[in-house]
Every structure is written in structure tokens, then in C-alpha cells.
Amino acid sequence: MDNIMRTVEMYEKAINENKLVGIKCNDCSRVMVPPRPVCRNCYGTNLSEVEVEGKGKLVTWTVIHISPPTFMDMAPYTLGIVELTNGERLTGIVNEPPENLYIGLEVEASFAENKEGASRLRWKKTE
């Protein structure tokens, strides 16, 4: 065991297993998604991995037409910020026609095939 807090690897491993995780501060109970190596509330470092509910509401979104070269085959694509049920927020690609989107829309996490790590996160309308 080394003493390095591998929060990115923790998140990527979970996403590869179709799960969302954060980190919980054992001192003040604050949950951080994405995980961080130091508590943003109390600066504590006594932290544990926790699975979080992959559900939330759309805070805002955009449809990207001019993309970086590696995303050109996907463009135009929709990117949104989602507030999870625990209040934390994540960016993700939204797999829903833009005309169906509105702020507050209930969405849930899904995960793209043929991708690795954080780039797999997709949001779709909650059934």
C-alpha cells in the first residue's frame, strides 16, 4: 500500500462497472462527487468510497456543434450538467433530443459501451 489517494482511478473503475461513486468524509459526512483527496467541508482526510445514486436533475445544457477533433464524428452532441440527488454535480453527454430538454428534467446515469473511464457517462431521461 502506498500513501497516494487515487480518487480518479477510483471513479474510473466504478464507471467501468456502470456505477457512480464519490468519497465520503468520515469526520463530517460530506459526500464529494467527483471524489477528492481532501474534504472540501472540514479538510479531513479520513475518507471512504461510497456509491451514489445515478439520478438527478438537469441544471443546464448545450448542443456542441464545433467540437475538438476527437469528437467530430459525434457532433452535434448535447452536453449537460446534472445535479445528483445528493446535491453534487457532474457533466455528461445527454442522450435525449434537445427539443425534449428543460432545466429540472429528471435524468439517470447510463454508460456508453466501447469507452473507458469517465468518458462513459451518459444521461438519459428517467423512465
Binding site: 480518479v8 443546464t60 448545450t62 456543434h65 452536453l79
Partner: protein, 387 residues
């Protein structure tokens, strides 16, 4: 701590400048600034250089020594400052702090970017690397995309619509017609702005600043020494920086940048001034919505009123608080590392009364706001007309 003066200013033409390196651009701007101050390269004790990524755009790392190299300085310490699009503002702030703290008496602050070597998609990617690589860029975020999400949230909460955003673009293009160093000197219409191609919905081409080459430089000295120099001194009254999360999604309020509020508040505190004391400002309009959010967060307009301020002329060159009279990033151009330095150049020229056709009348205090990433770094400066 010592009071500090801006004693010399210079900037290159902004635009597509062809085969030239960022260090040559800096040399041109720096020579102008040093001539203005009445100093030579051998008088400069230290240089700071704001460059986002000569690495990505020019295949050149370790760009800081390129400045003393091309200015014929021998062994003068040169330090690169990288803070995304706030690199230039932070370069100036470090020069000011070095003089204020008494480490040096004559310091050069420079900034540049040579961006037009690469095609647009590649530049988009290079800039997107200022976002969080793991949690944003891996999902295809771009900076137009990030600010589009700010624009949508701001519109939903305050009704800041496409017309209000376009008003910022129309105003800044109009201002740039009086700036011979600006990339564009052509007015645009609301119709043209609001029908331009969609970049990241709801932001269109004319909501975005262009891809630009250019450099700017200033010479910084102790205020008490100002009369030893030829340049007309402008007094540094306040400065502050604030930094926060790399990802936009980590902010609790997407319609506001807390970093701007904090940096502005701390700059005002240091200056002993309030928003109402400021006569004009150069703010970071990388996107039209960014100017709207900035002038609200700096305390000039109530939250939600920033777009209306542009639309009803409050922020026009003849309005009660002129914003981006230089043309701003939108029309003057946005060579990333140069931008924050060029803001200081413009405010200094206005306070000296040497801004030519776009000179504002009777200005005493000017302010800058320079933004990096999605507001992850903010640098503010407040300058005062000299004696």
C-alpha cells in the same frame, strides 16, 4: 509594501499575423513598452511572461527564456505564468507584487499567444485542455460549450436572451472600429450576430471571441520612482486573484463566477474604492455572456441586469460605465496570454489620455477583469490616473 506605477505600455497589432513566433511578438511589444518608459533591456531586472501554450500552438516549451533571449538581455530572470486565459493578468500581477515587495525596481510584464498556426478544431481542443481533462474534456466539453451552459442558465433565471448577448457583440465591434490594433474594425448588426452559425447552442459565432495572434507588454516600477522615467505614470491602486474548481459543474451557481466576486471585492478593498468609483472597465468577454456575468459579479450592475445594460447603452463608449472600449476580446481579438496584459495597456492609455479616437473623457479610475478556464482563475486590477 510599496505603491507601484505602470510606466510604459506596448502592444502589437492583434490578428492573423503569419509566420512569426510568440517571442518575436513579445519582443515587439516589449520594445515599445520600454521605449515608452525610457528604459532599455539592460535596465529590466526581471520579466514575467503570460503564455497559455506555446507548447501546443508552437511546439515550444520553456518559452520564458525566449523573451530575454530576443531582447538581448543577459541573465535576466524570466518566469512564465500560466493560468489559462488569465495568464496575462497574472503575469502583470506578479510583476506588480515583485516591485511592491521590494525585490526589484524595474520589471517587465509581458504576454502573448501565437494561435493561428493550427486549424480551428485543433485550437478548440487546445483551449478545451484548460477544462478538467478527466471530468469535462473526456466528455467533449469545449469553452464555447461551457459558456453556453452558463448562458442557458442565466437566460432561464434572468431572461438574458440572444438579443442581449448580441448587444455585447455589436457594442464591442463598434468600439473596435476606433482601435487600429484591433483584429476587426468593422461594425456588425444585430441581424448578422443573431443569425451567425451555431457554435455551442445557444452561443453563435458572434458570441465568441476570435482566434488571434498578438502580444502586449508593460513596464512596472515603484510609484515613488516614477519621475525618474520618461513614461507617464499610472498608479496601481488594487489587484487581486481568486482561484477555484477546474470544472464548471462544481459551482453551486452556474450564473455567476464566485472568483470574480472575490477578486473584485479584494481589489476594491486594497484600493479603498467601491464599484461606483470606477469610470470604465476592460472585462473578459471571451464570450458575450462572460461580459454580462462579469459586470454583474464585479458589482457594477445588479444580478440579471448585465445584458440589459449592453442593450440599453449603459456600457457603450458614451454610456455611464463604458465596458471594453478597446473592442474587448470579442473584436480587438483574444491572443490568450496577451489578453490580460492588453487590458492593462488599454486602461493605462485611457487614464493617460492617449487612447486616440476612442479616448474617454474625464476618467480617473479604470478596472480590469481577466478570466481563466470557466472562471477557475480571475485576476482583477484597479488603476488610477497619475499626477
Amino acid at each position: 509594501m510599496r505603491d507601484v506605477a505602470i510606466i510604459g505600455v506596448g502592444m502589437t497589432k492583434f490578428g492573423q499575423l503569419g509566420r512569426v513566433t510568440s517571442r518575436e511578438l513579445i519582443a515587439s511589444a516589449a520594445v515599445e513598452a520600454m521605449n515608452d518608459a525610457g528604459v532599455t533591456p539592460k535596465d529590466i531586472e526581471a520579466n514575467y511572461v503570460g503564455i497559455l501554450s506555446s507548447d501546443f500552438f508552437e511546439h515550444q516549451m520553456h518559452s520564458a527564456p525566449g523573451v530575454p533571449d530576443y531582447l538581448g538581455m543577459h541573465n535576466t530572470p524570466s518566469t512564465r505564468v500560466e493560468a489559462a486565459c488569465a495568464s496575462g493578468g497574472l503575469s502583470v500581477m506578479h510583476a506588480i507584487m515583485a516591485v511592491a515587495g521590494g525585490f526589484y525596481d524595474t520589471v517587465l510584464a509581458t504576454g502573448a499567444e501565437k494561435m493561428t498556426n493550427l486549424p480551428t478544431n485543433h485550437v478548440t481542443e487546445g483551449l478545451a485542455m484548460c477544462a478538467d481533462d478527466v471530468y469535462e474534456l473526456s466528455l467533449g466539453i469545449t469553452f464555447p460549450g461551457a459558456f453556453a451552459m452558463v448562458a442557458r442558465a442565466h437566460e432561464a433565471q434572468f431572461g438574458t436572451d440572444a438579443e442581449q448577448r448580441a448587444a455585447v457583440a455589436v457594442k464591442n465591434h463598434k468600439n473596435a472600429t476606433k482601435n487600429p490594433l484591433a483584429q476587426y474594425q468593422k461594425e456588425i448588426t444585430f441581424e448578422k450576430a443573431m443569425n451567425s452559425i451555431m457554435i455551442a447552442d445557444p452561443l453563435r459565432l458572434f458570441d465568441c471571441s476570435p482566434i488571434t495572434d498578438g502580444a502586449a507588454a508593460v513596464v512596472v516600477v515603484p510609484w515613488e520612482d516614477r519621475h525618474k522615467y520618461e513614461g507617464q505614470a499610472v498608479k496601481v491602486r488594487g489587484f487581486a486573484q481568486a482561484s477555484e474548481t477546474m470544472s464548471l459543474h462544481d459551482r453551486t451557481d452556474i450564473t455567476s463566477f464566485n472568483t470574480t466576486k472575490i477578486a473584485a471585492r479584494n481589489a476594491f478593498k486594497r484600493a479603498g474604492l467601491e464599484p461606483k468609483d470606477i469610470d470604465f472597465a476592460e472585462v473578459h468577454d471571451c464570450f458575450t455572456i462572460a461580459e454580462i456575468v462579469a459586470i454583474e459579479d464585479m458589482g457594477f450592475f445588479k444580478k440579471g441586469e448585465g445584458g440589459k445594460a449592453a442593450l440599453n447603452g449603459d456600457t457603450a463608449a458614451d454610456g455611464h460605465l463604458p465596458i471594453n472600449v478597446s473592442g474587448g476580446l470579442k473584436a480587438k481579438g483574444h491572443p490568450i496570454g496577451a489578453t490580460g496584459v492588453a487590458q492593462i495597456v488599454e486602461v493605462s492609455k485611457q487614464l493617460r489620455g492617449t487612447a486616440g479616437e476612442r479616448q474617454l473623457s474625464d476618467v480617473e479610475f479604470g478596472m480590469t477583469q481577466n478570466l481563466g478556464g470557466s472562471g477557475s482563475t480571475i485576476v482583477c486590477h484597479i488603476l488610477e490616473r497619475g499626477d
